[in-house]
């Protein structure tokens, strides 16, 4: 299944094109990622940029499995800004805000996609 936010073909390859396993893996993503993203929000609010970098770096490969192109591009930019500690004069917010917003939308679409499998 493919839409403008993600493409499940990569995930399907990982699990040998087994729909049940695909569903289970989507569920694991839905169960675990919101907490991680919430943590990123919290770190960003408290300007703990190194922690933001570490978390984004950690979860990015999972987003790449779903081929979430736009979210991944945003994550790459967040990583670039925060890698060696964020400099306040750079406009990091232009990447963080859309990432948090789009993530919520993607979760809804992903949940729908799972139910259709």
């Amino acid at each position: 299944m493919k839409n403008e936010c993600f493409d499940l073909s990569g995930l399907e390859q990982y699990v040998g094109n087994d729909p049940e396993q695909t569903k289970e893996m989507i569920q694991i993503f839905l169960d675990t990622m919101p907490a991680e993203v919430e943590l990123i929000k919290s770190h960003a609010a408290n300007k703990r940029w190194v922690e933001v970098y570490k978390l984004v770096h950690k979860i990015k490969p999972s987003f790449e499995v779903f081929r979430m192109t736009e979210l991944c591009e945003g994550m790459v930019n967040i990583e670039k800004f925060t890698r060696d500690g964020y400099k306040e004069d750079l406009d990091l917010d232009k990447f963080l805000t859309p990432f948090f917003r789009d993530f919520d939308k993607v979760l809804i679409k992903l949940s729908d996609a799972k139910n259709q499998l």
Binding site: L11, Y14, T32, S62
Partner: protein, 446 residues
């Protein structure tokens, strides 16, 4: 096939679970997922075959986990799977002992899959090599050197002495007496039997190539040296180097060999690095090396260094009833290998076998017997089934054109050897006075 046990250490639970499920598509893979380094270390008793380790773990860094793993299990392959595309980090980790470094991307799962297949194949090959080593060891067991004659029993006594130390052994004997078999028996029954046995036939290597063959060479050492080549000395390190037909080595190379043996080190051709060597040396020749020293063809200092424990393999014609003993053994072996009913040797066939001088020794006897088994139509091998390549024992003496005195010398020597150097028996059989033989012995004519 046993399971391949893999640890995945990954703090992103989704990604770790995904890798686990993917690798479990092969039911022979037994995959354990741990979310941090501590869990991984606590479970090392499960004896994994591979650890796929995330570099950025929450508790201990991947680098630290790898170091701890390698303290307990230095041979255990640890592959780092990381989101870092930093080449320096990858190189540093590989230097510190990581088996490989994978960046997390769409190909990660395939790389891991291929790595597991490669490690499985490697394990299979190691098992096969161990089995082959054991088989080779059995093949070259002393029990496989056959014979009951006093001459061969003397050889067995020396062989058992050769095993107790790493003394250099020099084996002399005519062609086909089994010099290489004896060298292998010494190696495979010694404490070095798990290490390589490397044989070099000195006569078969052109003089201009022997140095690079023995010591190896560096890239660019000469035209055509496009890569470094490891020489036989290095290949035989901690094992045994067998130099067959050492008497054929030219004087220039003899000097280099002597230096290598004295200093216990070599330098590759075109190189500067001194490489220590620890090889047991066994040499063989069908020449009389002492005679070659006298003629100036062989260095005296090298001769004494190589002489070590000298073992002289008797020619088959002087091993009396071993000829029949070996013949029966070869018949049984050949029939077994070819699913044939074992054949017997008739009395007259045995007589024919005993009369022949076997210039090709045991090797020739084996060939003669195998042909006889094939030619024989009955349960028993008869004289007509036995064919010697050198027509018969008399014409064998006539192959070379010699003086009458030389023919006399050869005939007397032949009868002496055939009768265990018993002068009286030889003289009786030749119908000559025993003093004739004693005189020839005194004058070193025979």
């Amino acid at each position: 096939m046993r399971s391949f046990r893999l640890f995945i250490v990954e703090d992103d639970l989704f990604y770790g679970e995904l890798l686990k499920r993917h690798l479990q598509l092969n039911p022979d893979n037994e995959v354990y997922l741990f979310k941090d380094g501590k869990q991984c270390i606590e479970n090392l008793h499960l004896a994994p075959d591979l650890i796929a380790l995330d570099f950025g773990l929450p508790d201990i860094s991947g680098y630290e986990v790898m170091k701890k793993v390698h303290i307990e299990y230095p041979e255990l392959p640890v592959v780092i799977v990381s989101g870092q595309e930093d080449v320096k980090t990858a190189v540093d980790l590989l230097k510190e002992g990581a088996y490989d470094y994978f960046v997390k991307d769409n190909d990660t799962k395939d790389r891991l899959w291929n790595l597991i297949n490669k490690l499985r194949e490697k394990e299979k090959l190691i098992t096969e090599i161990d089995e082959l080593k054991e088989e080779v060891g059995r093949k070259y067991n002393f029990n496989n050197i056959k014979g009951n004659s006093p001459a061969i029993k003397d050889v067995f006594k020396l062989l058992s002495k050769a095993l107790k130390t790493r003394i250099t052994v020099s084996i002399t004997g005519e062609t086909g007496t089994g010099k290489e078999l004896v060298a292998k028996a010494i190696h495979y029954n010694s404490s070095r039997n798990k290490f390589p046995f490397v044989a070099v036939n000195v006569a078969a290597v052109p003089a201009e190539l022997i140095e690079s063959e023995m010591f190896g060479y560096e890239k660019g050492a000469f035209t055509g040296a496009t890569t470094r080549k490891i020489g036989k000395f290095e290949l035989a390190n901690t094992g045994t180097l067998f130099l067959d037909e050492i008497g054929e080595m030219d004087l220039n190379m003899q000097a280099k060999l002597l230096r290598a043996l004295q200093e216990k080190e070599i330098i590759r051709v075109g190189g500067n690095d001194v490489i220590p060597i620890d090889s047991r040396i066994i040499v063989s020749t069908n020449k009389n090396l002492a005679e070659e020293v006298r003629k100036g063809n062989f260095r005296e200092d090298l001769y004494y260094r190589l002489l070590g424990l000298p073992i002289t393999l008797p020619p088959l014609r002087s091993r009396g009833n071993d000829i029949i003993f070996l013949s029966k053994y070869f018949i049984d072996e050949f029939c077994k290998e070819n699913d044939m009913i074992p054949k017997k040797l008739s009395g007259s066939a045995q007589d024919k076998l005993m009369k022949y001088p076997y210039p090709g020794n045991v090797r020739e006897l084996k060939a003669v017997i195998e042909l006889a088994v094939v030619l024989s139509d009955k349960d028993e091998i008869e004289p007509e089934d036995i064919n010697f390549s050198n027509t018969d024992e008399v014409t064998n003496f006539l192959v070379d054109e010699c003086t009458l005195a030389e023919y006399n010398r050869r005939i007397i020597k032949f009868f002496l050897e055939k009768n265990n150097n018993n002068v009286l028996v030889a003289a009786q059989k030749l119908d000559i006075g025993k003093s004739t033989i004693y005189r020839m012995l005194k004058n070193n004519e025979i």
